[in-house]
Amino acid sequence: MNSVTSTQDTIQHGSDQGHDSHHGPAKGIKRWLYTTNHKDIGSLYLWFAFIMFLVGGAMAMVIRAELFQPGLQIVEPHFFNQMTTVHGLIMVFGAVMPAFTGLANWMIPMMIGAPDMALPRMNNLSFWILPFAFLILLASLFVEGGGPAFGWTFYAPLSTTYSGDSTALFVFSVHIMGISSIMGAINVIVTIWNMRAPGMTWFKLPLFVWTWLITAFLLIAVMPVLAGAVTMVLTDKYFGTSFFDAAGGGDPVMFQHIFWFFGHPEVYIMILPAFGIISTIVPAFSRKKLFGYTSMVYATVSIALLSFLVWAHHMFTTGMPVYAELFFMYCTMLISVPTGVKVFNWVATMWRGAISYEVPMLFSLAFIVLFTFGGFSGLMLAITPVDFQYHDTYFVVAHFHYVLVTGAIFSLIAAAYYWLPKWTGVMYDVGLAKLHFWCSLISVNVLFFPMHFVGLAGMPRRIPDYSIQFADWNQIISLGGFAFGLSQLIFLALVIKACRKQGEPVADKVWDGAEGLEWTVASPAPYHTFTTPPKIQD
């Protein structure tokens, strides 16, 4: 496809390509502003996500510093609430989702043998509106009265009656994030649907592509509902409607229904591509085919469908009738069946494989074990009668950080370690990578595991102060938090080093057990790949 050709004399990768009609990337800032190249946009997404990860992480450090000791030391409670809110929003919409979209941009065309994404200009737009969304969100922290402080779930009436004027900024930034994700999702679907190389049939698709396809459909189904929810909050707050205001005949509980109708599928939006990554990496380092490919696809589809039937398990304490609680409890537990299929398939893939422990594999193994922990605590939370005890405690915080940090984030780091040599053409500093792994693995458990204990003992979430009996564990949690935060700087240094091409050049097929079309192109991947479709062998 046509790249940006504002300057004609910039054929950087001309020797790699042998195509006169194609230009290499333009130079300077224009390359990044005007680019329609899927690899450039993928890199932009990944860097943006990484920066947002560090920004959201800095907010987490503020939270942990305040919670280091009981009592109020460092920040005001209102600012603490802003930190928990914006930390959540940034990590969900700014870090995890754009990182997966970045991987999709980089890898999907290369995995299915397409020259680019199907809609390159929309691709540029969907990335470039994202920084503005987060500038608006971060700017809201500086307006009078402070930024959003109602939790990332923005429950009414906290976000309507009792919120500050930054709510309008919050609403618009969520609108922009939503538009960006929807455009990204449309692009992914059209690319996978229409641009597969001849012979790349549905059941030859790599699992990462499959899981992203299903994720993209989930995004199209639920992001508009989120847009509707924030719009209703906006009109309730500023234009006198009463969607969620009981005084005008509305109902604040309905907000929770609408929000979680989006919110629960959103959880799977953040984990399905992770399943795809793990299903790619585990076979490569076990030197075996993925066990149960077809069952993996069907398990992904069933998780996606079930995710629409479980939203009210976030709302067990709202006074639902018993039969509704039972329905949502059983549906929630049912999800552990397809998820279990996946975990067992990964284990069966490793069974009697010739396993080696390169860094991507280390992170994948940590993912399988720790994500399963998060799954188990989720199962505990699904049990209605005990959820009344666990609800809104640190047990919930422990649960979703196990599935999101040691789940989604670990899979993203594994993916980066797996494909980084293909992107940069050099092997990263493996010693540093192993240091990053061990530091992260230990600190993340010091950080999140004791949260189970304080949660079960009754420590509430989103509160800047706590009873004295939780002090010891909170100190340990905070130390783990600081260590985990610092460990990610190792990763930053490593990625910068690799991007500066400091390291041994790698072969086209970086990992001997790796499979897929992306390993048939040169390393580093040339600016244009598969301008003529590859032949797909069986």
Partner: protein, 191 residues
């Protein structure tokens, strides 16, 4: 897909798919808002959520006709074997300007029996106020079996400055009330 890059058929196929996906997005955006009336209908049918729906006001006409000849026909309909405890709760969201309290804090009634609960609203401010009470019943399902024949919550009430008014809610419980409901709470929030 024999020709790659910008072949016309490919472009057409892309455009078609994009249109469909945009349509799906628009439909889901609409669905988000459609959840609002759907939620009301769903709660109305199932009686979830403890809201008292318009059904009550519609029945008011019919029920009021019943009030007069209540004695003979309705008396037989009273289930004296059961006695349900009702607790009244009031919450004033109007700040300190309006005081709102139940006069009858608890009632014990038989299903089918007409009853009255009285409430007192005091305007301690210097201005006349319009107030609206919003009811909520728990357990939620019990809302289906509580029939109000008259309630101050049906419409806005006007209270002069520094005035105290008493308001009455007339109601009866359906004899079909499930056996496992022994106690109900009626909460009114005043806005």
């Amino acid at each position: 897909m024999s020709q790659r890059s910008v072949s016309a058929t490919q472009q057409q196929a892309n455009t078609r798919l994009v249109k469909r996906l945009l349509l799906a997005t628009a439909i889901m955006f609409g669905f988000g808002f459609a959840l609002v009336p759907l939620y009301d209908v769903f709660c109305d049918i199932t009686g979830l959520n403890g809201r008292v729906y318009q059904k009550d006001t519609q029945q008011t006409q019919a029920a009021q006709n019943l009030v007069a000849p209540l004695t003979e026909a309705e008396q037989d309909n009273i289930d004296v074997t059961r006695s349900i405890k009702l607790e009244m709760m009031t919450i004033s969201q109007a700040g300190g300007a309006i005081l709102f309290e139940p006069i009858d804090k608890t009632l014990r009634i038989h299903p089918g029996q007409m009853a009255e609960a009285r409430f007192r609203i005091t305007n301690v401010s210097k201005d006349a106020k319009y107030v609206q009470a919003i009811p909520s019943i728990s357990p939620g399902q019990a809302g289906l079996y509580l029939h109000k024949t008259a309630c101050f919550c049906f419409e806005q009430q006007h209270i002069e400055a520094n005035q105290q008014n008493e308001f009455v809610m007339q109601f009866y419980l359906d004899t079909d009330l499930p056996e496992d409901i022994l106690q109900m709470t009626l909460a009114y929030t005043l806005y």
